[in-house]
Amino acid sequence: MTTTLERPSASPERPADLLLSVHDLRTYFHVMDGTVKAVDGVNFSIRRGETLGIVGESGCGKSVTALTIMRLLDMPPAEIPTGSILFEDRDLLTLPDNEMRKIRGNEIAMIFQEPMTSLNPVFTIGHQISEAVRQHLKVSKKEAVDRAIESLRLVGISFPERRVKQYPHEMSGGMRQRVMIAMALSCEPKLLIADEPTTALDVTIQAQILELIKRIQADTGTALMLITHDLGVVAEMVHDVVVMYAGRVVEEGTVDEVLLQPKHPYTEGLLSSIPSKGLRGSRLNVIKGTVPNPFNMPVGCNFQPRCPYAFEPCPEHDPRIEEGGGPPVACWLWKRAPGHDIPQGLHDAQVAAARQAAAAKAGGVSGAVPTELRGEEIAS
């Protein structure tokens, strides 16, 4: 596990600036009704100073991935049967707890989605920030508070000297999120994990926070792992994107590749279901059905029951992204399935036919839409 050769080869030419690489990570939860494979074989890597976006809908495993990296999950019920998380040259999964505690909050910091509930209501924010500082750096109480004031100033909070004496309830949502960011940055982490940092905020406040994160990243060179469901935020913020669906990575690439030329049918469906100006008056695209039941994942490709292009190999074989070469998309439309010797060009025909069918289905825009089309959800 110590050799660089075993690392995922997302950037084989630049292993030196590799900060974090996650390899075949699986996180299962054993609960009463069975086992939930929340994260099921995920690979990705982040270079120093880079921003990686992890995109997906609720329940796709993006937050669990982050919590696994931070080792914040209770085990049991969680179990990590396979995988490695190499941070610089340490495997976070095998580190003893006290070593991990030195990294957590210090070298890797995390911002959570809920600025309302991630701060402790009974302590002043100065106390909460300086607590983190004193945990990791050998400084006096006074110095820790000074550092807290400094980091509050960095995130654009005015009168930080007075703000450190206030409690979370005295602040608005945007300000609390700034406090969270200040706390995360107080120890100058090498990697910042932001789990939906702006989802609970208004759009003008979101703009402030995104600008703030961008500026801080430029100033400090912190790498950022941005978890979000908002493809707009992704387009705005990141270099590389990983799209997750039901615990697996279905597509990866640069932000331009993924958002402008999506390969996976899920990514394509997601992008075309966003309402936008050009779509006014037409029906929005819909990904039929719902996310599969976590206790009963489909065999083969787990998107196949909802996929408009599904064909023979899809229910049989699982099209994972192979490490070290191969197309960066988990889909049999883009590669040859085992035992299915499909001639080149058939895929295109398949896609074209499916698109045509979809277009015909969506054609009833002007007329009354038959009821069965509304039943786009599969009966559970």
């Binding site: 005015s158 009168f159 609970a200 703009a207 929005l284």
Partner: protein
């Protein structure tokens, strides 16, 4: 406009279904053991608009701007403080007893939270049937269990669910399905007007598009009129015919959807639109980042309420009339109203200039000062309500 339609006997002019005139909703701030009133939170302050039959009016604004309060007051789910409202010429606020009950059937609401708005102890048949039972009379026969269940099944099918789901309980459904149940509940009473209060904010993108398609289909099928409240500007753009933008209890701009998005005439609308991230990396826009938070509606700034965060105010060297005079809504183009003294000064150049001074600590010194003053003011006040109010509905998807 609304004014001529709502005077005198309150008959709406032309084809307006809903007419709202000078609607006010204040929440009292009480203090001390005697709960004496010490002030008001002006959640909705003199709002006027009308909605034509079959039209979708989008209502956008940030948390705490009063958009949900407006929707609820309009339906008399909250008592109004002042103003008038009419549904098809009938006064909404003056009705009582039987008249009010009939009105309630004709105006319905779809709530944001698909979890919190369905009683977990009731089967779906009761959740949807409850309204029918309340509105039962000899004519419709909804008092009869069989008739009621038939109607429930019928409307479950209308929203794309199976008839036999009526026996199940809310926890057996996904978020999207629950939202469909909420829609079926509103529709079952055959309303004319529906307030959609952030109906898709809690849903994932792929589910959101299903619900939006459904709402559009239903409008066509049943000839419905919507007041569509949302904070997502793309959703509002996709769905609405006209859009009203609210800031701190006031409508600051109202226009047909194309005009509002192509040529906004209020600095707040301009900033709001520039802040929306587009899912296209080629379109990384010039953003205007507003400073600070929304001021407290208990103590709104004098004159124009937006001036403490306004980029145009700074750009024009802080003109006095912004501080002294409250700008009225005035018509700047056919159908386009904006409440800004200096709306004519908004042009591509001024917007570009404002976007260039973006940044957290950047911004003009004056702007910085204004933001700090506002913050200072909010810090020294000790009233619990005298600070930015978080919308009670601001619980987006987890």
């Amino acid at each position: 406009m609304t004014v001529e339609g709502s005077t005198g006997n309150g008959r709406a002019s032309g084809d307006s279904l809903v007419v709202v005139k000078d609607l006010r909703k204040y929440y009292p701030i009480q203090s001390g053991i005697l709960r004496r009133k010490i002030g008001d939170v002006r959640a909705v302050d003199d709002v006027s608009f009308d909605i034509k039959k079959g039209e979708i009016l989008g209502l956008v604004g940030e948390s705490g701007c009063g958009k949900s309060t407006l929707g609820r007051t309009l339906l008399r789910l909250l008592p109004p403080t002042g103003g008038e409202a009419y549904l098809d010429g009938q006064s909404i606020f003056e009705q009582n007893g039987r008249g009010l009950k009939d009105l309630r059937r004709r105006m319905q609401i779809i709530f944001q939270d698909p979890v919190g708005s369905l009683n977990p102890r009731m089967p779906i048949s009761d959740i949807i049937g409850e309204g029918l039972l309340a509105q039962a009379d000899k004519e419709n026969g909804w008092g009869n269990r069989k008739t009621r269940d038939d109607r429930v099944g019928e409307y479950l099918e209308v929203v794309g669910l199976r008839r036999d789901y009526a026996r199940r309980y809310p926890h057996e459904f996904s978020g999207g399905q629950r939202q469909r149940i909420g829609i079926a509940r509103a529709l079952a009473l055959a309303p004319e007007f529906i307030v959609c209060d952030e109906p898709v904010s809690a849903l994932d993108v792929s589910i959101q598009s299903q619900i939006l398609n459904l709402l559009i289909d239903l409008r066509r099928e049943f000839g419905l009129t919507y007041l569509f409240i949302a904070h997502n500007l793309s959703v509002v753009q996709y769905l609405s015919d006209r859009v009203a933008v609210m800031y701190l209890g006031k409508v600051v701009e109202m226009a047909p959807v194309e005009r509002l998005y192509d040529d906004p005439r209020h600095p707040y609308t301009v900033a709001l639109l520039s802040a929306v991230p587009e899912p296209d990396p080629r379109l990384r826009k010039q953003r205007i980042v507003l400073k600070g938070d929304v001021p407290s509606p208990a103590n709104p700034p004098s004159g124009c309420r937006f001036r403490t965060r306004c980029w145009l105010y700074e750009q024009l060297g802080r003109p006095e009339n912004c501080v002294e005079e409250e700008p009225p809504l005035r018509e700047l183009a056919p159908g386009q109203l904006a409440a800004c003294h200096w709306a004519e000064k908004i042009n591509p150049d001024s917007i570009r200039q404002a976007a260039r001074t973006e940044g957290i600590s950047a911004g003009t010194p004056g702007q910085q000062r204004a933001a700090e003053e506002a913050e200072e003011a909010s810090m020294v006040s000790d009233s619990p309500l005298d600070k930015p109010v978080a919308d009670e509905n601001a619980v987006p998807r987890a």
